[in-house]
């Protein structure tokens, strides 16, 4: 959230940019125009690289796809507006297709695949006469006849892109991008499907670059063989601008685009013109090595020092009932057991991690799951939440879970935490709680960008829920802190809070007290009881602390090497000789 005085910066920049138009010669306007086109393309690239962690080396090719689409469509007699829309749509589609392999491959390989696309586009696509269409002309509508007006249009396009980026980062789409980058498959529990999310990022990035291409085409009219802006060199320069600008910082990127593309031409002088690109390439390397968060990071530090952030008021949490969520129908039937696992087996390669486990959890219980390392406790959680290859049957409220996707299982009312954190450390506490509620978002990621009233209302509601959940754990004042900056014990509580925010009936906590001191463990165990008493939750806890088990659990199961070796009241189970032997690693 921007405080009021901070809002003045973008406004001031916009006024200055518009005011400039009257004072500049045609040549200088053309330079600024190319700065804006580059900035838009770099912003599109940055959306993909900084948010989803996918490095595309094909964005100059995408720029070409946009430009040539506009010229081909416009040159065939379509109106200018149709040509621009076609450029945006076609580029988005091409980027999505190029993004398809990323569903199967990761970082380094994506870079190689996009590099191969860039090369093929340059050598094959952009050398075909039916693509480059040197004989066709994209004619401007009469309102854009003068270069000044075209420049103003480019400014408006830049403003639009900045607005879209802002919408993306504050809604479901942006949260999903980051989640896919940092926690991958685990985000599926929250309702984030990695595949469609990645493709959306490619499509969005492509659409933005396509817009830049259409602007370029409008300015040039025809391009023909002048394909230099679409070459690999340019792709790398876009990467340089995005990284030097400061990953994720829109202001930094616009400034970097100006420094690389605008300053040398405007300031004149051969030295500056010749050496600026070389220096910027060097700066790219320095930026990666030193990680100063780029131009944007430096700027933010200056602004933070000059204008200290005011705390944003957090929304009121009265009247938020975390348990009141819309569930898929017909689940409110009273059944004796909430969760019933029958003959559940999980096999990884030749290793049987769980062997015909049968157990049940009744409504309102706190059930302990104990056993030595490698006993299969977390594997059982993975089986319930949909992250393990399972045979057998796991029924929740009498619905078979095994045919349901992870997000569907969350919707049915199960939520879990991970032993080693299933949240995004780079984001704030509040953002993580919003991420955990993705399945409750009720609007498609792509639609959220439009900023419809319903989206805004929904987001406000999710924010209220997030703060209500934080309130339970006494974490409200930390809502704006970056998760990774918090102490370990606090991070664990944030993770439980985010699971609670997702509105579960059944909460699976994987070693929630691991790494905590005795007092912290005791306090957290007290919270377990509160969750049951106040929210009516049922809990399954994987625990190593015997005092915690004895204090909070109604029933306990003990696993060894994937097999159930004891069950019963906690006092009996922890006193069982077989259980003791299992923990001490000796046979009775």
């Amino acid at each position: 959230m921007l405080s009021d005085r901070r809002r003045l910066f973008p406004l001031g920049a916009a006024v200055a940019a518009v005011a400039l138009t009257g004072m500049l010669s045609e040549v200088r306007l053309a330079v600024l125009f190319s700065v804006i086109v580059t900035a838009i393309a770099a912003l599109g690239l940055d959306l993909l690289v900084a948010r989803t962690g996918e490095l595309s080396l094909a964005h100059a090719a995408f720029l070409g796809v946009g430009a040539f689409t506009a010229i081909n469509v416009g040159g065939r007699g379509a109106t200018w507006g149709i040509a621009v829309i076609a450029a945006v749509a076609v580029t988005a589609a091409v980027a999505t297709v190029v993004g398809l392999p990323s569903l199967r491959i990761r970082g380094l390989q994506v870079a190689i695949a996009t590099l191969a696309f860039q090369d093929a586009a340059e050598k094959y696509l952009f050398t075909r006469e039916d693509v480059t269409a040197g004989d066709k002309l994209l004619s401007r509508p009469s309102v854009l006849r003068t270069d000044t007006r075209l420049y103003l249009l480019a400014l408006a396009a830049l403003a639009l892109v900045l607005l879209v980026r802002r919408r993306v980062t504050t809604t479901r789409a942006g949260r999903s991008f980051v989640a896919v980058r940092d926690i991958g498959e685990r985000a599926r529990s929250f309702g984030v499907e990695p595949g469609p999310t990645k493709l959306l990022a490619y499509a969005l990035s492509g659409a933005i670059v396509g817009l830049a291409g259409a602007l370029l085409a409008t300015h040039e009219g025809t391009i023909g063989t002048a394909t230099d802006p679409f070459r690999l060199l340019e792709s790398l320069q876009l990467v340089a601008i995005a990284v030097v600008g400061g990953a994720g910082s829109a202001t930094g990127i616009v400034i970097a685009a100006f420094l690389v593309k605008g300053l040398p031409q405007l300031a004149g002088g051969d030295f500056l013109r010749d050496w600026t690109p070389i220096i910027s390439a060097g700066l790219l390397v320095v930026a990666v090595v030193a990680q100063p968060r780029g131009v944007g990071g430096v700027l933010r530090d200056i602004v933070d020092r000059a204008l200290p952030k005011r705390a944003t008021p957090s929304p009121p949490v009265e009247g938020v009932d975390l348990a009141s969520v819309e569930r898929p129908l017909a689940l409110r039937l009273p059944v004796p057991a909430l969760l019933r696992a029958h003959e559940v087996s999980v096999t990884y390669g030749g290793l049987r991690a769980l062997d015909r486990l049968t157990l049940e959890v009744r409504k309102g219980e706190i059930v302990g799951l104990i056993g030595a390392n490698g006993a299969g406790k977390s594997t059982f959680f993975n089986a319930v939440s949909g992250f393990a290859p399972v045979t057998g049957s796991i029924r929740y409220r009498d619905v078979e879970l095994l045919q349901t996707r992870p997000a569907g299982r969350t919707a049915l009312g199960t939520a879990r935490t991970f032993q080693d954190m299933g949240l995004v450390r780079a984001e704030t506490v509040a953002e993580n709680l919003l991420l955990a509620q993705t399945w409750l978002a009720d609007y498609p990621s792509a639609l959220g960008i439009l900023g419809l009233g319903s989206t805004v209302r929904r987001e406000r509601e999710l924010r209220r829920r997030a703060h209500a959940a934080l309130e339970i754990f006494g974490l409200r004042e930390l809502a704006g802190e970056r998760l990774g900056d918090l102490p370990y014990g606090t991070m664990r509580r944030v993770e439980i809070a985010s699971a609670v925010a997702a509105g579960p009936d059944l909460l699976l906590l994987d070693e929630a007290t691991a790494g905590l001191g005795p007092e912290e463990s005791h306090a957290l165990a007290g919270t377990f009881l509160d969750l049951r008493a106040e929210l009516g939750l049922t809990l399954v806890v994987i625990e190593h602390h015997v005092p915690v088990i004895a204090r909070v659990c109604d029933y306990a199961y003990c696993l060894e090497s994937g097999v159930l070796i004891a069950e019963g009241a906690p006092v009996d189970v922890t006193a069982d000789p077989a259980v003791i032997a299992s923990f001490l690693g000796t046979r009775p």
């Binding site: 962690g53 490095l55 080396l57 392999p101 199967r104 491959i105 990761r106 970082g107 380094l108 390989q109 870079a111 190689i112 695949a113 590099l115 191969a116 696309f117 090369d119 093929a120 340059e122 050598k123 094959y124 696509l125 050398t127 075909r128 690999l232 060199l233 790398l236 320069q237 990467v239 340089a240 990284v243 010749d274 050496w275 690109p277 070389i278 390439a281 060097g282 790219l284 390397v285 990666v288 090595v289």
Partner: protein, 293 residues
Amino acid sequence: MAELVTGLSAGAAYALVAVGIVLIFKGTRALSFAQGEIGAFGLFIGLRWSDRGVPGFGWHLPLLMTLFVAVAVGALLGFVVERLVMRRLVHRPPLDGVIATLGIALFLALLEKQWFGAATQFAPSPVGSWRVRVFGATLTAPRVVALLAAAAVAVILYLFFERTRFGLGVRATTDDATVARLLGVPVNQVYRFAWVVGGALAGLAAALLAPAFGGLTPFAQTSFSIRSLAGAVIGGLDSIWGAIIGSLAVGVIETYVKGHSSIGGVDSLAVLVLVIVTLVVRPRGVFGSAGAV
């Protein structure tokens, strides 16, 4: 048959760079996109000294020496890049290394443009202008040398990895750099070794490729190194043999496609398809190990 031989000779040149890429990946877990430009930079300097004389001496390098200058400058650049940049990125996400090497490629290419001009330079063969006829194909000297060099590099690296203590150290570093360090493997030397050899191979490849592919242009080598990256990724990023076989396959398929179609850039299209199909069907590459990427 003739196409096969021509393709193999092109593939052999790609393989020289690809082996360097894989060696660097095995040694440091970094994927270098800078190899093409590192090699080209060395050759640019060699050609300049051959053409206008070594600065301060006025002595014109014989053509053969341009190859050695390319190799030496490549090795030196490898050394500098490792010491100043890549060693600081060892514990970072792999994408940081990629972006850094891209920055280095961009930096070198722009520097070449500034110092040597944007026009394509004629690159005479450093190994003579003789030709050999094999199975109906006429191979120029650089292509023959590329084939021989690729074979020699394969044998030497095989012996190095299997028979020497240091080779064992490189393999240990590939598996787990931290454990290797604890066991007394001089990990920093491994990093340096990988980059120096990778740079030298890039210089050798540039000196042999440029004459065979119509000269030297700033940044063109980066496009050529796409072939090597493709070969490495097809063969498996952590397999020297995979890189060689993958690069040979790229060379053969590219030559075949070019020979049977008059459409411009169809070879690049073929490489794209080959890369995508391999990555989608078998992401780790044909000979790569499971945890490679």
